[in-house]
């Protein structure tokens, strides 16, 4: 049954993702519903929120005093994470098969290229719709449990809106993969564009008369619909734009795929191509720095991803600093009139700290999460290098297994430090340029304090790679990341016991932009990381390679 067509076979490949992503993201939506009632328990709080909604466009749904509104606000932060699956799946869809060589076999069947590609795209859309339905149903169940005032149709429309925006980024990844030799490059470009689009969507919230800029972003059209907020509803226009973009991007991608050589890329117009290099002599690249050792090679491998993630993390942090300075007056005016808003902001900061520092502190919680996600991608690469046999010849040279593992980990450590330092430099420069006063020590603590967080995830990943294959290792780390973040992000609202909150590394990271880093907490994080790395090293020295 599962092997009757390309569509069904591709759906089969997605079955675990559909269930895991659908139910997981559904629970992400439901989690904040559990806490909203305590935040808007009094009529005064509700009234404050309603007045805020009328005066300020920044996440209007945040101030809508409803279960669905609060959930919509919280899920908005995770749009990047939600789009990760379609982005990876679509960049792998055609290019990944070409890299593996399995596309040649698939295209040897009596099926046209267009049909093969269309069936694969259709499978992704069906998978996204199924995820959307699951998210909607879980959200509806949550709404029923926590007295939400939206019905099942609203919940399903919410899921549909998410599925549509995911389909747009899936289509974009598929299109970009027609121009890249490797799926990873396509995924990287799409992720970078996703970040750009998220930022573009935010522009009109802080800078007046810039809606036209935000309208360039698919995220803007996603945000036009807020089906979980009954007073807001769904925007048929917004959804149609998203559907149109999804179909358009996928159609162009399929059209290009049908016309190019398999395994090759679409030829760019002459004016976009890099100048042709003169024919190189057939000589060895002696003296190339990245080929001198395991560590240097590790650095060479991680260099390009580091550049992209640095742009995302450091650039994003700097942008937040500028935005907060620009909207300072407006936000302070809002906060002064709303105890709810003040409570929310000081949840991530301190009543004694400055307003800007508190707000930035809340936003800066995302940065270590992103750095940890970067570490997950690099652990994935280490694990796949072993599983795919790329370490076999390396280990046939007179390099000890311990040296190989530590060389790669040292390269990842260097990359993590670079991202941390660049984030510090970018935010300090942005604060200085925007005239925002931040405690330099705390800023350094907030940015450099991310480094042990990233390395902890990497060390745990290296340890788990001693037993688990790549997909399981990545899945475990992703689960841990999500669990840790929700323990710290939602846990206080859910009044989770202190012992549970302490299970998350975010607890030890704290709110350094306001309070600085606690040395004992950092030592504990580093110690756990070192222990995990030591155990991972011992395991790697003794294990069967690529079994």
């Amino acid at each position: 049954m599962w092997f009757k067509s390309v569509l069904v076979k591709t759906l089969r490949d997605y079955r675990i993702a559909i269930l895991g992503w659908g139910i997981g993201m559904g629970l992400v939506v439901v989690s904040p519903m559990a806490t909203v009632s305590t935040l808007i328990s009094t009529p005064q709080q509700r009234a404050e929120l309603a007045s805020l909604a009328a005066s300020f466009a920044w996440n209007a749904e945040l101030v809508a005093p409803t279960v669905g509104g609060y959930a919509t606000f919280k899920i908005g932060i995770f749009i990047f994470l939600i789009c990760v699956w379609p982005l990876l799946a679509a960049s792998r869809m055609l290019r990944g098969e070409e890299e593996r060589g399995s596309m040649d076999v698939l295209l040897s069947l009596p099926r046209s290229r267009v049909r093969v590609a269309v069936e694969k795209v259709a499978a992704m859309w069906v998978a996204l719709l199924a995820m959307g339905v699951l998210i909607g149903l879980v959200a509806f169940a949550g709404g029923e449990q926590f007295k939400g005032d939206f019905n099942v149709v609203d919940a399903l429309l919410f899921g549909l809106d998410l599925a549509l925006v995911c389909a747009v980024f899936g289509g974009l990844a598929l299109l970009i993969s027609q121009f890249t030799q490797e799926r990873g490059t396509a995924a990287g470009w799409t992720a970078a564009l996703l970040l750009v689009f998220i930022v573009l969507d935010m522009v009109h919230r802080v800078i007046p008369n810039t809606v036209w800029i935000s309208q360039l972003s698919p995220i803007y059209y996603y945000n036009l619909s807020k089906p979980l907020v009954p007073s807001y509803g769904a925007s048929a226009g917004g959804m149609l734009v998203l559907a149109g973009l999804s179909v358009g991007l996928a159609a162009v991608a399929v059209w290009l795929f049908a016309r190019r050589d398999v395994g090759d890329t679409v030829a760019l117009p002459a004016w976009l191509r890099l100048p042709q290099r003169a024919a190189r002599a057939n000589v060895m690249p002696a003296g190339e720095w990245s080929l001198r050792s395991i560590y240097a090679r590790g650095l060479g491998m991680v260099a390009m991803p580091t550049l992209w993630w640095t742009l995302g993390i450091a650039g994003g942090a700097a942008w937040f600093v500028v935005v907060i300075k620009q909207s300072e007056a407006k936000l302070q005016e809002l906060a002064s009139g709303s105890s709810f808003f003040q409570t929310l902001i000081t949840q991530f900061g301190s009543s004694n700290a400055g307003f800007n520092a508190n707000l930035l502190s809340a936003i800066f919680l995302i940065l270590p999460l992103l750095l940890m996600a970067f570490a997950v991608t690099q652990v994935n690469r280490w694990s796949s290098d072993e599983v795919d046999g790329r370490l076999d010849i390396v280990l046939s040279t007179p390099q000890s297994r311990l040296f190989v593992l530590l060389g790669r980990f040292a390269a990842l450590t260097t990359a993590t430090i670079v991202i941390g330092v660049m984030t510090l430099a970018a935010t300090a420069l942005a604060a200085s340029a925007a005239g925002l006063k931040l405690d330099t020590g705390n800023l350094a603590a907030a940015t450099l304090g991310m480094i042990p967080m990233g390395l902890l995830v990497a060390a745990v990943g290296y340890l788990a790679a001693g037993w688990l294959r790549t997909a399981a290792d990545t899945g475990l780390l992703s689960f841990l990341l999500a669990a840790w973040f929700f323990i710290s992000f939602i846990g206080p609202d859910l009044k989770l016991p202190d012992g549970t909150l302490r299970l998350s590394p975010f607890y030890y990271y704290g709110t350094p932009l306001v309070h600085g880093l606690q040395l004992a907490d950092m030592v504990l994080l580093v110690s756990v990381g070192v222990l995990a790395l030591a155990l991972g090293s011992v395991r790697f020295m003794r294990k069967d390679i690529a079994v």
């Binding site: 890299e99 030799q181 490797e182 190189r280 057939n282 000589v283 060895m284 690249p285 002696a286 190339e288 080929l291 001198r292 050792s293 395991i294 090679r297 491998m301 795919d388 046999g389 790329r390 076999d392 010849i393 390396v394 280990l395 046939s396 040279t397 007179p398 390099q399 000890s400 003794r542 294990k543 069967d544 390679i545 690529a546 079994v547």
Partner: protein, 308 residues
């Protein structure tokens, strides 16, 4: 001659699945040893145990007197290795890959490396993922030979190479042997093993079923004789003769093709009773011998088991 590879009762399983069981053999220094077996027989497991990529469940493997697991770093200074499936960083060029491994080995003889590159006619400027299967194999072969190793451990080294490059490879193995290196290679190309190797081991379902010199192995004669007669001859005449394993009737009974084990004396004498038009005998190839060891019943002939 002193054994440079010593394997004794080497055993490895993957969970509940069989890898190899009680495999023992020795390879003298300077020998080219062929390791034969079908897919899943245990060739790659044996080789990966020699390379310390796997940890043995029992038994021992030594190269140059050093334990393959405990002293793997010292061993790897002496060894050049070609894995069964060449997996390398897809984004590096052939030149970068060779430079990288030359550095990891602490430097190599550059003129010799250049000579190998020219000999195999490798384009150094293409990325690994852009290479054809044969060119990928060339990169892996060069990195195995480039430091003039004392021992070469090669897992299906010619898989994907065209006949011209297979000849070049044969030349490289010959040169390595002449310079005193020992070569341990697994292959499915039996004619190549026949050409290249001095001794052969045959592994089946994880157990070494046969080991011996090429000439010894070929001595387990299994002739094929085709006899044409002027008039039809009943096939039963030959079926009951000593050594005849199979009788095939050809040309409406005017000819028979006989598979014979051992002496052909009885067959020749019986055929002489009829008007013979022609008689053709085929020498068994290593391929034939190999296939015989892996026939459906899997039985190993008793007399064959004693050949060393």
């Amino acid at each position: 001659m002193k054994a440079i590879i010593q394997v004794e009762r080497l055993t490895k399983s993957y969970g509940g699945k069989r890898g190899i069981v009680d495999v023992s053999f020795e390879v003298p220094e300077g020998e080219v040893f062929g390791f034969l077996g079908p897919n899943g027989a245990g060739k790659t497991t044996t080789i990966r145990l020699l390379m310390a990529l796997l940890h043995p469940d029992a038994g021992s493997a030594r190269i140059a007197g050093l334990d393959c697991w405990q002293q793997s770093i010292e061993i790897k200074r002496l060894v050049g290795y070609v894995p069964g499936e060449p997996a390398l960083d897809p984004n590096l060029t052939g030149g970068q890959i060779l430079e990288y491994f030359a550095n990891l080995r602490g430097g190599v003889d550059r003129p010799y490396l250049t000579q190998l590159i020219k000999r195999l006619d490798l384009d150094l400027n293409r990325k690994f993922h852009q290479y054809s299967t044969g060119n990928k194999r060339k990169v892996v072969l060069i990195q195995a030979f480039m430091h003039r190793p004392k021992v070469l451990i090669l897992d299906e080294p010619t898989s994907g190479l065209d006949p011209l490059n297979q000849q070049v490879f044969d030349g490289m193995v010959k040169d390595a042997r002449e310079s005193g290196s020992t070569v341990f290679l697994s292959s499915h190309v039996l004619s190549e093993v026949e050409k290249t190797c001095t001794r052969v081991g045959i592994i089946r379902e994880g157990r070494l079923v046969r080991i011996g010199g090429i000439a010894d192995v070929k001595a387990i004669k299994r002739y094929e004789i085709t006899i044409s007669f002027a008039s039809p001859v009943p096939p039963e005449t030959f079926a009951s003769l000593e050594g005849v394993e199979k009788v095939e009737v050809l040309n409406e009974g005017h000819a028979v093709r006989l598979a014979i084990q051992g002496s052909a004396d009885a067959v020749v004498k019986t055929a002489a009773r009829y008007p013979v038009v022609s008689l053709t005998s085929y020498e068994p190839s290593l391929e034939d011998i190999f296939l015989r060891y892996y026939q459906a019943d899997g039985k190993v002939p008793e007399e064959a088991a004693n050949v060393v």
